[in-house]
């Protein structure tokens, strides 16, 4: 799966303005680590509601920038909720972290490039 859907990202730049999108990407890069941490702490606390909400937020922002892979993984967590086996969530969250790393790098390059 493509890390960032170029068409979505370009459309965003066109409608909101490239400078604004650069700022928006920076905001996302500031906020996302907190959302990922929130997801993990919700998992640790077995707080299903907070877990779903954190996954929902990540999905929502990832979709805005066209970060397809990140959005799809976050969506799976939002819909699946807390797994019966915590190890599966930990695994899924590691995949989410990795996808975020790729999306962040790509977004940085695209918005500042």
């Amino acid at each position: 799966m493509e890390t960032i859907d170029t068409a979505t990202f370009n459309e965003l730049r066109e409608t909101a303005g490239p400078e604004f999108v650069t700022e928006l990407v920076d905001t996302f890069l500031e906020e996302a680590p907190r959302m990922l941490a929130d997801l993990k702490s919700a998992r640790d606390a077995a707080d299903a509601d907070r877990f779903r909400r954190a996954a929902h937020s990540i999905k929502s922002n990832a979709s805005t920038f066209g970060a397809l892979e990140l959005a799809s993984l976050a969506r799976a967590l939002e819909l699946g909720g807390l797994a019966a086996d915590p190890a599966r969530d930990v695994e899924a969250m590691a995949a989410l972290d990795a996808a975020y790393g790729r999306a962040a790098a790509a977004l940085k390059g695209m918005s500042h490039g």
Binding site: T8, A16, H56, S60, L79
Partner: protein, 346 residues
């Protein structure tokens, strides 16, 4: 571009909030941001907004709770709400609509779609506001509120209250001796002054016919001491007319005189007419008696006449002159009539 609207955006996610604000500002609107449902409600109670763009998944108070609270709030329930969310189930979207949301936009929100839906919602709101404004102009605040709360239904309910009729003496002669424009102006001034006295004392104007007015005290909303409200209104009206006459005489115009009749008791209040055109009114013996008392002011050469029920409710609070039993058209037995002495306050 459409007129600039005052919009409130409620979203807990900073990226979503900033992007939504940007889209709306590019469309020429003024935007205020709230980080959760509770903050949004606080802002809505303090400031006036044209529309709310509401996220559903929020901490503190989520979008569903905000919709519920708005629905329960008389002042806020007409505020249009567009839900912007990436909710995963249709059931949730249905729930938003059922809770009164005007529209639903899936995130990420397409700016073109946003613009179109926003324009439609704002236009609907403009029409609703206009309707409300018209209702305020043609009905009174109490009737408008009653309509808003209970909806419209023909038919009445029994209420206990006081009815007042007023009339300008010799109005036809007056109207014949002056240009029609002047008569309209006189009526407008007269109505403004009388409406003010009536509403200050808790009454509702239910009928305007030429120079005649009918007002009810105690319906559609019950009030304490409706008889006192009606008599106070009458005294205030006379006082106001006297001041108005000083101006008229100074402008070399003839002074006007009015007659007032008040009766109290049970009556049926409600909307009468057809579903297309109806008026809020009261009917019953009490209403007829008030109208007859108003007519009788001429023969009795008194200004304010009240019936025995109104008199009993007032007790010793008001100076009166008993006129004894008077034969009233439509009444088998003569009724006790009292004249209220002018120039008193109670």
């Amino acid at each position: 571009m459409a007129d600039s609207a005052r919009l409130l955006v409620a979203d807990d996610n900073k990226v979503n909030r900033l992007l939504m604000a940007r889209s709306l500002e590019l469309q020429g609107h003024r935007v205020t941001l709230a980080e959760n449902g509770r903050a949004a409600l606080d802002l809505l109670k303090r400031e006036a907004f044209d529309l709310l763009l509401l996220d559903i998944e929020m901490p503190e108070m989520d979008g569903f709770q905000v919709l519920e609270q708005l629905k329960a709030d008389l002042h806020l329930r007409d505020l249009p709400v567009i839900v912007t969310s990436s909710l995963e189930s249709v059931a949730n979207i249905v729930r938003c609509i059922e809770l009164g949301a005007e529209d639903y936009l899936h995130k990420p929100v397409n700016p073109v779609l946003l613009k179109a839906r926003l324009a439609a919602s704002l236009e609907k709101k403009r029409l609703r506001d206009q309707q409300k404004e018209w209702m305020r102009r043609f009905a009174t605040r109490e009737v408008a509120q009653d309509l808003q709360q209970s909806g419209f239904a023909l038919g009445g309910k029994r209420v206990h209250g006081a009815v007042m009729f007023t009339d300008i003496r010799g109005f036809t002669t007056l109207a014949e001796t002056q240009p029609p424009e002047e008569t309209i102006e006189l009526l407008n001034t007269y109505y403004t002054l009388m409406f003010d006295a009536i509403s200050t004392n808790g009454g509702v104007v239910t009928l305007m016919a030429g120079d005649g007015l009918m007002a009810i005290f105690g319906a559609p909303l019950p009030m304490e001491d409706p008889c006192a409200g009606a008599v106070r209104t009458a005294l205030e009206m006379i006082e106001t007319i006297e001041l108005f006459n000083l101006e008229r005489v100074a402008a070399e115009k003839p002074p006007i005189k009015i007659g007032i009749g008040i009766a109290s008791g049970e009556m049926v209040a409600g909307y009468a007419g057809t579903n297309e055109r109806a008026t809020y009114t009261c009917i019953g013996d009490t209403v007829n008696l008030a109208s007859r008392l108003e007519s009788h002011t001429k023969a009795a050469e008194r200004t304010i006449l009240i019936d025995g029920v109104t008199r009993a409710a007032l007790g010793d609070r008001v100076a009166l002159e008993p006129l004894g039993p008077v034969a009233i058209r439509g009444k088998a037995v003569p009724v006790e009539v009292f004249s209220v002495s002018l120039g008193q306050k109670f």
